[in-house]
Symmetry: C2
């Protein structure tokens, strides 16, 4: 049963990045482009998105540890322990990932987007335009 | 039972805005400051947040219609029907709200933040720093 705050998976990332070890920490740090494949049930919600648009893709870091409340930023032991709400750590109570991307191409309900550091198979839960 | 993509409410907005009719559509459109009250269970995750920080607050629009896939932007009948993923409509499959705010003050596990258009009682699901 779908609970009141149960996220629906609206699409998935298809990327050449297949392991967390290979993924850069942020999209601007050398991440590749990838396909965002939207589920057929949500295709109508893409209407109006065009190549060149700047979007925020919201993902669900399905491999995250939701019990983590503090971490050392960028996994660097020289950094002090910091609350996860003051960091972009994927380990956090609700492991939402926020990815600013440019739309390179639209192919039906597949969007070519990038750069994006999410690995292959990452669930997508929302897409929003960047406000100018 | 908590499902694999069930969001935890980590805090709540306490605002003078009490009705959707009074709320501006975006924070920069005259919204007030508000308190973000973090639940005691997640207080450790705030460590390191200070007055002056720029944050993204992610809320759950608990009154949204999750079945809406297309809408007219800004509820203006002159605008064409547009996919919700190309708009900031609160009505969308996963009604996540994204609010860029400045921290005005920190009082224990309460953050004074603004401007923010979320109404009183809006659940908060994540807090992230803005990347420079």
């Amino acid at each position: 049963m779908t609970g009141p705050r149960e996220l629906k998976v609206i699409g998935v990332i298809a990327s050449e990045l297949t392991s967390l070890a290979d993924a850069p920490m942020q999209g601007a740090e050398g991440a590749p482009d990838a396909w965002l494949e939207v589920d057929a049930a949500f295709a109508d919600a893409l209407h109006g998105i065009e190549a060149g648009d700047e979007l925020l893709v919201i993902t669900w870091f399905h491999r995250a540890d939701r019990a983590v409340l503090q971490t050392r930023p960028r996994s660097d032991p020289r950094n002090p322990m910091t609350g996860v709400f003051a960091t972009r750590s994927p380990d956090r109570p609700n492991p939402l990932g926020l990815h600013p991307v440019t739309v390179r191409a639209v192919d039906g309900r597949r969007l070519r987007v990038g750069p994006i550091e999410a690995i292959d198979g990452t669930p997508v839960v929302d897409i929003k335009p960047v406000l100018k």
